[in-house]
Amino acid sequence: DPALIFDLGGKFDKSFNEAAYNGAERWKAETGGSYKELEMQSEAMREQALRRLAQSGANPIVMTGFAFGEVLNKVAPDYPDTKFVLIDMVVEQPNVQSIVFTEEQGSYLAGVLAAQASKSGTVGFIGGMDIPLIHKFECGYAQGFKAARPDGKVIVNYTGTTPAAWNDPVKGGELVKAQLSQGADVIYAAAGGTGIGVLQAAADAGILSIGVDSNQNHLHPGKVLTSMVKGVDNSVYESFKAGTEIQPGVKVMDLKSGGVSVAMDDDNKPLITEEMAAAVEAATKSIEDGSVKVHDYMTDNTCPVK
């Protein structure tokens, strides 16, 4: 059987763990197969979980989150016959497939949409913890926004420095109000459970928000501009489907391959004007053909736009 390991946030984090879970469930529903799943409780459990699953014959073993990188590097060689799939981080081992997403590209599109939808010319970004991964979202978003509105302004907030930063909808809501008072009228949340509070507060205040990781448009129909969707569910689904035939190496899930996208559905249809759709279309094209290069914060820890 395949196995799926979630990171510390847990499988219902409203974020990419949950997306992974959805992918696995879809596979289960379609194939009728069964899989093992596991949530981390502590850092030391990572290695333990990998080894126990590998020993129990689970194959492939899919895990979400960059934090598995180190451990997998150590464990993978001990189980050469087991295939591992790591999402969000690259580990170079012969039996490991690494899947990374170009969140900056998806966020760029979100920024383009925000620029179109914003009346004030000021938009907001609310991140969970101040860590590089979240800066990647922030930077892509800012690039997309500035590309459309060079004179516009992006207000950035991070919620905290402890794990509570990912589960504090109250603070998320207050940050929305703080950004609102500074003129922001579209706010992009990349903050896990805190994001739920962001989307809620934005809807309450009558401004737009942008969801993250999975499609969150349905949370407040007609009030969530879009969601920057990371195809983690697809990746898990594909991995489970490929089973032991998984190809090792790095798989970059970018805009072109449909790895990242901005969600368009019935819930946000009334919000998306034709110009917006066209702008997204255009931006997508330019990114895909390489005429626009979205800078990845991770490569040098800097962002070309502020």
């Binding site: 219902f12 949950e18 589960n167 109250v170 459970g193 739920i196 809620q200």
Partner: protein
């Protein structure tokens, strides 16, 4: 900083201080009666869950509030059982209650809603909505005062006004009623109450249950007023901050108001200025987020003297060794 910004920050401070204030007053009742309580966090969390769940199920915020109070009361009763009836260690009991709430809320939430401990989002009457006070809109054009009234004083949920009303009420109960007199006495010298023919046990239970009820309101506020539904661990350490505020306030109601306002204000300021640009250096967001805590330490060190807790606090009342 312009006036609008000032109002926004104050407004935010008011909203953020409410759960702190309610929990702080909750702790005040309990600790003034000599029962220490580091389980404020857990009681609030349990209340937030119960309120969120019941408000969702019934569509009524008021029923949610009742449920929240009920949930917190249950844990308060447990604390009373451990620390009053069985003369257990109050600190351990508090720690246990925090763990219990943290586990049970997710366990129950997952069992009922299967959303990983989250409750579904609340809508409409399942939430306490902001209420506009009379004449708020009419007065808005009046410079300063009018705007203060319309934007700062008006426009909060009913629980906010309830929380603020609790401050004078608590003061009055504590210093103007028989119950308050006995409550304060039992926290200072339970033997004096006992020899005066009043039951120490009953008084302490009353205090602990009031504490539970207030934590219940605080939790309900978190889940059904300031946000729309329960998210696991959503109290995010506010119970501990409330405890700090209580010590800061030296166990006095009006000072509690001040202390909680200060914490709310500092968080609001940090939210408003996520990256303080000081010209040469920009203070990183991590430190802006930690600013309330850093300032607390500085204020504590600089301006607040020794805080002497109620003398009998933390000790079970034992007549015969």
């Amino acid at each position: 900083m312009d006036f609008a910004t000032l109002i926004q920050i104050l407004d935010s401070a008011v909203r953020l201080m409410v759960p702190l204030l309610l929990a702080c007053l909750a702790g005040l009742y309990s600790e003034r009666a000599g029962v220490f309580d580091i389980g404020l966090e857990g009681k609030m969390l349990m209340a937030a869950f119960c309120a969120g769940a019941v408000a969702y199920a019934t569509g009524s915020a008021w029923l949610g509030l009742l449920a929240g109070i009920g949930g917190a009361l249950a844990l308060a009763a447990l604390h009373g059982l451990a620390s009053i009836t069985f003369r257990g260690n109050q600190l351990i009991s508090g720690v246990a209650i925090n763990f219990l709430a943290s586990g049970l809320t997710v366990l129950l939430g997952q069992k009922i809603f299967a959303l990983g401990g989250r409750t579904p989002s609340l809508q409409g009457a399942a939430r306490f909505n902001e209420i506009t006070l009379p004449f708020a809109d009419a007065l808005r054009p009046v410079p300063v005062i009018g705007r203060l009234y319309a934007e700062l004083i008006s426009g909060h949920s009913v629980l906010v006004y309830l929380a603020f009303a609790m401050v004078p009420l608590t003061w009055w109960v504590l210093y103007r009623t028989r119950f308050g007199l006995r409550l304060r006495a039992v926290g200072e010298n339970p033997a004096s109450v006992d020899t005066a023919g009043v039951s120490v046990t009953r008084l302490r239970y009353a205090a602990v249950l009031i504490c539970g009820a207030l934590c219940g309101i605080a939790g309900a506020y978190l889940a059904t007023a300031i946000s729309a539904g329960f998210v696991k661990e959503m109290t995010a350490g506010r119970g501990f901050i409330a405890l700090a505020a209580l010590i800061f306030a030296k166990w006095r109601p009006w000072s509690a108001l001040g202390a909680c306002f200060l914490f709310g204000l500092m968080e609001a300021v940090a939210n408003r200025y996520p990256n303080l640009d000081l010209g040469l250096v920009t203070v990183p967001s991590m430190f802006m987020n930690a600013l309330p805590y850093i300032l607390t330490v500085i204020i504590l060190a600089g301006f607040v003297g020794r805080a002497i807790p109620p003398r009998a606090g933390g000790e079970p009342y034992v007549k015969e060794r």
